[in-house]
């Protein structure tokens, strides 16, 4: 995989200024959200923040129960399949990946990954059975069948810990789209996304 840093270092001349909108809308828990997803059916939000939560307005959040041991070990990622919104994936370092096929009523664990330390999770831009998972210390894994089987694809950008992954449909040399990764050192991109 060719990973390219999308720039490092210098402060931009147009760095953000002071807030012009002062109202603070608090999230579902005291913990920081790590991930947001929108349910295309009704525009409601889901977030991962030591659990999975749903909100219709961004102010009032309702917990979507997940198996307790998983919530305690930290859910930091939530992905909603845009074409089948009742299919929800949740993941975190210590939790692995769990999925619900009924909108969050029941969950089951996704097997086949080398560890539970899932740092980031992304769904393919148009081939929805394909997902990417960044496993701490192991690299980036891909499933092409909705999580049934996983295959290690790459070590990631210079082996850096990943904070976010997102797939783009932009055309690459292998016609597989691009994969962006958020890291401690800024964004990276692979333009020949395995």
């Amino acid at each position: 995989m060719l990973s390219v840093a999308l720039g490092l270092g210098l402060i931009h001349a147009r760095d953000t200024g002071p807030s012009s909108a002062g109202q603070s809308i608090q999230g579902p828990t005291a913990a920081a959200p790590r991930s947001l997803a929108v349910d295309p059916r009704d525009g409601s939000l889901k977030t991962a923040s030591l659990g999975v939560f749903r909100s219709e307005d961004g102010r009032r959040w309702k917990s979507i129960p997940v198996p307790a041991p998983l919530a305690q070990s930290g859910i930091g990622q939530v992905v909603v399949n845009p074409d089948k919104p009742t299919l929800i994936y949740a993941a975190g370092v210590g939790s692995g990946i769990i999925l619900s096929e009924d909108g969050g009523t029941t969950w089951r664990r996704v097997a086949g990954l080398p560890s539970m330390a899932v740092q980031a999770l992304a769904i393919y831009a148009f081939r929805r059975e394909t997902l990417f998972a960044s496993i701490r210390g192991r690299g980036i894994y891909r499933t092409e069948n909705g999580g049934q089987e996983w295959r290690r694809m790459d070590g990631g950008p210079d082996g850096k810990p990943l904070l976010a992954l997102v797939h783009s449909p932009l055309p690459g040399s292998m016609n597989t789209g691009w994969l962006y990764a958020g890291t401690l050192y800024g964004p990276y991109v692979s333009m020949d996304c395995f």
Binding site: G27, A32, P82, G182, Y185, G186
Partner: protein, 89 residues
């Protein structure tokens, strides 16, 4: 490639489903927009987010609706594809 305009992390990235060369990315250094797939980034004057921006999302069926969450739980929303942002309410 262009420069990531802050020495801090990119904690969240969003690809605009309408135009995939438009990227939003956020972190402790602010919220940024690229219109050329990540070569050049410019700051979005959303405002200060305590702890930085940590999550971004777009409504796939109403893609003008974007969301940005800060580390303190603050949630901002854009109804015009990222041009203007306001606290969600």
């Amino acid at each position: 490639m262009g420069r990531w305009p802050t020495p801090t992390e990119a904690a969240a990235i969003l690809v605009d489903v309408r135009e995939p060369r438009r990227l939003f990315a956020g972190g402790p250094g602010g919220l940024f927009l690229s219109t050329d797939a990540g070569r050049i980034w410019q700051a979005i004057p959303v405002g200060a987010a305590r702890g930085g921006w940590v999550a971004l999302a777009q409504d796939p069926r109403r893609p003008q609706n974007l969301f940005a969450a800060a580390a303190d739980g603050t949630l901002f929303r854009s109804r015009d594809g990222g041009t203007t942002w306001h606290p969600a309410q």
